[in-house]
């Protein structure tokens, strides 16, 4: 317990982490507008792990897309380590694992995993080594020479995760990366991810629909509600770092689960009024 506390992430200067300030996102399609995010504020200290959880359509992916410079917010500001998403992208500070494991169909798994390093002009031998390491981590050994069309959905997801891991990003942005995996594999990869995060001291922003995954992978769970998308609650998970699968047996785990379920139900309940 005290060891766990000693391993709490240091709350360092805000500029090092992810900072979302008054971010509003309104999608326009002709005359129709959708407020995907209405005034969101969130501070994620460097090296800490945050999950976004909430009903479908509450703007979780939108938030990640703003941070990865794919879309610009209508108003407000998002910063990664004090840099705007555009600057952070140019400096290759973050890696995005998007909701649909995106693969280039004409590249075999190995080449797909190497893609980010190839774009960053990392020498061939080095990128081969790092890609093989990442493929090993996600358990895709033996499939390096398969085409994406020959993989299952879960395998494609793992290849997409591997591609992000090769980049050793300071900020890891993951959108439901484990959605298509079975429970056991999901569990194994959850803790594998934690190990990598501890090793690289990366900051994690994860979107998930699984309450237990959110608890396992977070220092803080952010609950969002839809229409318009906004943050309704932030729940701290005080397990510290260096977690083991044993945290599931911790009495706090069950309490947090029901607290989160309640918070989620609440945010969903709002929707139906």
């Amino acid at each position: 317990m005290s060891a766990a506390l000693a391993n709490q992430p240091p709350l360092r200067a805000r500029a090092d982490g992810i900072s979302i300030r008054d971010v509003q996102m309104v999608y326009r399609r002709g005359v129709q507008t959708t407020t995907a995010l209405a005034g969101c504020n969130l501070e994620i200290p460097a090296g800490s792990w945050v999950s976004l959880i909430g009903a479908s359509g509450c703007g979780k992916s939108t938030l990640l897309r703003i941070l990865s410079d794919i879309v610009q917010p209508t108003s407000g500001q998002a910063l990664l380590g004090g840099l705007t998403p555009t600057e952070a992208r140019a400096e290759r500070r973050f890696a995005l694992v998007s909701q649909h494991a995106v693969m280039l169909p004409w590249r075999k798994v190995l080449a797909n995993v190497e893609l980010g390093l190839e774009v960053a002009r990392v020498p061939k031998a080095e990128r081969r080594r790092r890609a093989e390491e990442a493929i090993e981590m996600v358990g895709l050994r033996g499939f390096e020479r398969a085409y994406p069309s020959e993989l299952s959905g879960g395998m494609r997801q793992r290849a997409a995760i591997a591609r992000a891991l090769t980049l050793k990003p300071a900020y890891l942005l993951m959108d439901e990366p484990f959605g298509a995996l079975d429970e056991l594999l999901r569990d194994r990869l959850n803790f594998e991810l934690l190990r990598i995060l501890e090793e690289t001291k990366a900051t994690l922003l994860l979107v998930t629909h699984s309450i237990s995954e959110a608890i396992i992978l977070s220092d803080k769970v952010v609950v969002m509600s839809p229409r318009p998308g906004r943050i309704t609650q932030e729940i701290d998970i005080d397990f510290g770092h260096n977690r083991s699968p044993a945290i599931r047996d911790d009495p706090r785990f069950g309490r947090l689960e029901s607290e989160l379920r309640h918070a989620l139900g609440h945010s969903m309940g709002d929707e139906h009024h």
Partner: protein, 255 residues
């Protein structure tokens, strides 16, 4: 579909057609001036192999050079058009208008300008295959998923990297569609251009032999022209399989 059937099926159909051809000409159902017997037609290859081979070679050279030039120009222009909106606005209307020119009708003018050598035929073939490649290429270069574009964007890929790693590979199926189409039409273009004015090539042979009522030679020229363009299409298909191994349908061998 078994391998034996893939080869044996078409061969069987071909042999049946040949038998039918021999039958109708042998029984005298058609005027031999319209359709001579297969023996007469194949006899031309036997008696004048050199005449057939050289003329087919000339036409094939024109068709292939036209094919390469036209497709290269078409693809290059497609790349420019999808990369630069201003380039597209300036040149695309012109390219569209050029497509409306009945090039075969312009051939006599080309002959006046370039003489009766190979150049005008190559030009006609080039012109005819250029536009399908431009249109297909533009569609293909834009065909990658938006999400793939977002991935490349988040990886901070340069325009060249996107072209090389995403746009061109995504365009390959479209490029090959255009290539397969133009492998045939480049032959047609070369032969038609040879009709107008030439002293060699299959088109010339057809016109010349036809004017002297030597229909066996006409049909021999048609046959070798068909065969040559089939070989060219076959080569394109082989190339397609080699270049796009990911697109090979894994269920193909099963059905």
């Amino acid at each position: 579909m078994s391998r034996a059937w893939r080869i044996g099926g078409p061969t069987g159909v071909l042999l049946s057609l040949l038998a039918l051809w021999a039958l109708v000409t042998g029984l005298g159902w058609v005027d031999p001036l319209v359709l001579p017997s297969p023996v007469a037609v194949f006899g031309v290859f036997w008696n004048q192999p050199w005449l057939m081979a050289t003329n087919a070679g000339i036409t094939a050279t024109e068709a292939i050079i036209g094919l390469i030039l036209g497709n290269a120009c078409g693809l290059l222009l497609a790349i420019i058009f999808v990369s630069s909106a201003s380039g597209r606005r300036a040149v695309l209307p012109l390219a569209m208008a050029a497509q409306a020119v009945p090039i075969v009708a312009v051939t006599p003018a080309l002959i006046i300008g370039f003489g009766d050598g190979m150049e005008p035929k190559i030009l006609v073939a080039t012109f005819l295959v250029f536009f399908p490649m431009l249109v297909n290429g533009m569609r293909g270069l834009r065909s990658a998923d938006a999400e793939v574009g977002e991935l490349m964007h988040s990886l901070d890929a340069s325009a060249w990297q996107r072209l090389w790693m995403v746009r061109l590979p995504a365009a390959l199926p479209f490029i090959f569609t255009a290539l397969k189409f133009s492998a045939c039409s480049s032959f047609v273009a070369a032969i038609v251009a040879e009709w107008v004015a030439a002293n060699k090539g299959l088109g010339y042979l057809i016109v010349f032999a036809g004017s002297q009522y030597r229909s066996d030679e006409v049909w021999a020229a048609v046959l070798i022209g068909t065969l040559s363009s089939m070989i060219l299409v076959g080569l394109v298909v082989l190339l397609e399989r080699r270049v796009m191994p990911w697109a090979n349908d894994p269920t193909e061998g099963l059905t």
